[in-house]
């Protein structure tokens, strides 16, 4: 044989071996693959193909981070801070209103003559803001790049927190990735209690301890006589027997004493007369010190434990609490207490999240889909295989082998790239099967033509391949363009369709041209046939 034929043969064998090795575990199962690999000294890959949620069941979530609210939180803090500073400078401000929409703070002064003094304070102490208007009100605006930075950080932080929660929730192979500007895509394969998971991931979990302001009567405050540094929050009580919900208003100081970011750990404990579950939390050293000092100086006062703006309880401070430990009691079920501890441990979301898309697929449906997809693929492929043999005889059989190799390469590549096989992806493979033989049809028809005009077998084969090759390339490139666009713009399942098509088309050039040509070359050289089975 010629050296070039040998070289091709070696390439073909290596491709079959490599991609075959990666496909094998998917066919025989992970356990058997491990066994086989161990027999051979552990050189074989044991990963099976990654099934999409539509095939194995689970939940796909697209969450939108409300970054505007993160910006608003920064503005509110600045507004509080500014109000305090104006107060210190003896400038009376009527209202200081933050607005999340346009990232501005409006300052209404009691006496317009103070404007210059106020502006100076702002310029000295709020470098992140630019002054838009010096009239009444004074309008200051958070700088654009700061807004962008806050939004970006909010999304990044949200991803970290959600990833934390997902990991603690205990699902195998979850994915949490950013998509677009402020979307987070969460895939939880095989999850059983989808709604509980959604609640858990979506909880802002902003824990704050506020001092209850006993100097103001609740009735007064509800009538509008609310001091500027106070706010009204509600405790929501549910009657355990009737299920009736009552809201109890509290007047609390706006400025929290302890915030959730000071929490280092939280877990479920049992106690009280009914041995009910409650959540115990631990603070970091900074928080512990603040907590100890504060409780020491406020004995007899009440401390409201606020989670996401809802008061859970407002116990009276009995004594100085050292050691940085606290507890949250409420009428928790064990599951609620467990989830609350989990979200406190994993940190709070910097901004609320909204569900943009939620797909939950039961495992039984995934199984139905796989079975049907498999069935369709087997019937379709079988029809193509038999037809090719019927029409092109031995050459048809060769094209069938090329097609099978194509499928092996698609599966092998997907395992290598950790790409995900989805239901449309399965359809993509089936479609590739149909189109994979196209290249061989093109070549064989050409060879037949060349034979008909009287060329020798050897010439006909070579001319057929050479002539058809450019057409195959052109045709495959255009389809490849489409497959890549599908991959780029598609989401989830459609991406899977794009990737199987793209791999299939690339593999097609190798299997339908290089592989079959190598076989032809060997046959032509070894046997020098006078007739072709084509």
């Amino acid at each position: 044989m010629k050296t070039s034929t040998w070289a091709k043969l070696i390439i073909v064998f290596s491709v079959v071996a490599i991609f075959g090795a990666y496909t094998l575990p998917t066919i025989v199962g992970k356990k058997n693959a491990k066994y086989i690999s161990e027999l051979l000294g552990g050189i074989l890959p044991t990963d099976t193909i990654n099934l999409g949620l539509d095939l194995k069941g689970g939940m796909h979530l697209v969450l939108g981070v409300e970054t505007d609210k993160a910006v608003f939180a920064v503005l509110s803090r600045a507004a509080n801070n500014l109000q305090q500073q104006l107060l210190n400078a003896k400038i009376a401000a009527d209202k200081v209103i933050p607005s999340g929409k346009d990232a501005t703070i409006k300052i209404y002064l009691v006496d317009p003559k103070d404007t210059d003094k106020a502006v100076n304070i702002i310029m000295d102490n709020f470098p992140n803001y630019k002054i838009v208007s010096q009239g009444q009100p004074i309008v200051i605006k958070l700088k654009e790049q700061i807004v962008e930075k806050i939004k970006k950080q909010a999304v990044e932080q949200a991803i970290n927190v959600i990833r934390n929660r997902v990991n603690q929730f205990g699902v195998t192979e979850p994915t949490v990735v950013r998509a677009g500007e402020n979307h987070i895509v969460v895939d939880l394969p095989g999850i059983k209690n989808a709604n509980r998971a959604v609640k858990l991931l979506g909880e802002t979990a902003r824990l704050e301890l506020h001092l209850v302001d006993d100097s103001v009567s609740v009735a007064d405050a509800l009538n509008g006589n609310l001091p500027p540094d106070d706010e009204i929050l509600y405790e929501i009580k549910r009657d355990p027997t009737t299920g009736e919900i009552t809201k109890v208003p509290f007047v609390v100081k706006k400025e929290p004493i302890i915030t959730g970011d000071m929490i280092t750990n939280a877990h479920v404990m049992f106690g009280g007369p009914l041995n009910q579950p409650y959540v115990a939390f631990e603070l970091n050293s900074e928080g512990a010190k603040i907590f100890a000092d504060f409780t020491a100086t406020h004995i007899g006062k009440r401390l409201a434990i606020v989670l996401d703006n809802v008061i859970y309880s407002a116990p009276v401070i009995q004594s100085r609490i050292g050691g940085g430990r606290g507890e949250i009691t409420g009428n928790f079920t064990l599951e609620e207490a467990h989830d609350l501890a989990l979200v406190l441990r994993s940190g709070s979301l910097p901004a609320p999240v909204k569900i943009l898309q939620k797909v939950t697929i039961g495992p039984s449906l995934g199984k139905i889909s796989i079975d049907k997809g498999k069935k369709a693929m087997i019937f379709g492929s079988l029809a193509v295989i038999l037809f090719m043999i019927f029409y092109y005889r031995l050459s048809g059989l060769l094209a069938d082998f090329a097609m099978a190799l194509n499928i092996v390469i698609i599966f092998g590549t997907m395992v290598m790239l950790h790409a995900t096989l989805t239901l449309p992806g399965l359809a993509g493979i089936a479609l590739t099967v149909g189109m994979a033989v196209d290249a061989n049809v093109l070549i064989y028809e050409r060879i037949r033509e060349e034979l008909l005009i009287g060329r020798s077998v050897h010439d006909a084969v070579n001319t057929g391949y050479a002539r058809a090759f450019i057409t195959i390339l052109d045709a495959n490139i255009t389809t490849l363009i489409v497959a890549l666009i599908l991959y780029q713009f598609g989401s989830g399942p459609v991406k899977g369709f794009g990737i199987t098509m793209a791999i299939g088309l690339l593999a097609n050039i190798f299997t339908a041209v290089t592989f079959t040509k190598t076989v032809f070359d060997i046959v032509l050289e070894k046997f020098r046939p006078q007739r072709l089975s084509i």
């Binding site: 449906l365 449309p424 010439d459 490849l480």
Partner: protein
């Protein structure tokens, strides 16, 4: 040797152009007309809403199911689809979606079904899409289709002359319109999968057209005395068996997907089925005869030797060397 198309056959495809155009226009007008009058049936991923697939242990009637849920605000104007023939699996569609992480639509459904059917049902799948992301999907889908048309236009213009690109794109638009029209006529929803199928059809149809164009070009170059009509007829005729065979094998597979692939692949495989037939038809009857609408030679002689030709000549030279 088994043959579908007799070798050496020459069919006058060009003369059928007017008839073909008339048939196509009728089909497109009917299909697209239906689409415009009835409005497109968008899947929930494009318009937002929730679909819930439920399976019952025993067969039930659609009316039973409808009665069970019709009094709820969320499901009052919902649509119910019966899947398969067992009367056990249904999909309930509602326009309502929720962005809240604490409430879910399926939690609203469960008590309604429970009070009527007890514990005899199972929720198989819930698909909820908010209106905002629906718009994103819609935009992306349209961008993808337009982008692929442009990319193909550029590619063919580079590889062939402009009139070929024109013919190919016309055939593509034809295929997309026919497919979209048929989807509407047969009551299929436009979903992400269906958009993917339409893009695939775009790829497939171009593939088919290019094979024929390639042969027409080869005909013109090998015999400059050939008239445009002759070149086109010969080009199509000589590649006819390949065109029929490839369409055939691909249709086998798509038909299998359509028949056995289950509900999830129905819309997608239907679109592919229509698109592949249309793509094959348009490559022969639309894309190629359109080349005649332009006056002058199909391939001007001065452009004879481009880089591809040199490549081809090189290959042929190599073949002679080796063969000789």
């Amino acid at each position: 040797m088994v043959q579908i198309v007799k070798p050496g056959i020459l069919i006058d495809f060009v003369s059928k152009f007017k008839l073909a155009v008339s048939i196509s226009i009728i089909l497109i007008v009917v299909g697209i007309g239906h689409l415009i009058i009835k409005g497109p049936k968008l899947g929930i991923e494009f318009k937002g809403g929730t679909s819930i697939q439920v399976e019952f242990d025993k067969p039930i009637k659609v009316t039973q199911l409808r009665n069970a849920i019709k009094d709820s605000r969320i499901f009052s104007d919902s649509r119910i689809q019966n899947i398969g023939s067992s009367n056990k699996r249904f999909i309930i569609y509602t326009k309502v979606s929720t962005s809240s992480t604490t409430k879910s639509i399926e939690d609203a459904l469960k008590p309604l079904l429970k009070s009527k059917f007890g514990d005899t049902f199972k929720i198989l799948e819930v698909d909820m899409v908010g209106p905002k992301i629906g718009k994103e999907f819609r935009d992306k889908g349209i961008i993808a289709i337009v982008l692929s048309l442009i990319a193909i236009l550029i590619y063919i213009s580079l590889r062939f002359q402009y009139r070929f690109a024109f013919g190919a794109i016309l055939a593509l638009i034809h295929d997309v319109l026919i497919t979209v029209g048929f989807l509407s006529l047969f009551g299929y929803e436009f979903t992400l999968d269906v958009v993917a199928a339409i893009l695939t059809i775009v790829g497939y149809s171009v593939n088919d057209t290019i094979v024929i164009f390639d042969r027409i070009r080869e005909k013109v170059r090998s015999n400059r005395k050939l008239s445009n009509v002759e070149a086109i007829n010969q080009g199509i005729s000589e590649t006819l068996s390949r065109t029929v065979l490839t369409a055939g094998t691909t249709l086998f597979v798509v038909l299998a997907l359509f028949l056995f692939g289950g509900h999830a692949l129905k819309g997608m495989s239907f679109a592919l089925l229509v698109g592949i037939i249309s793509g094959t038809y348009s490559s022969i009857f639309i894309a190629s005869p359109v080349l005649l609408l332009f006056k002058g030679q199909l391939i001007p002689e001065k452009k004879e030797v481009d880089s591809t030709d040199r490549f081809k000549q090189q290959i042929e030279f190599d073949i002679k060397q080796r063969g000789g």
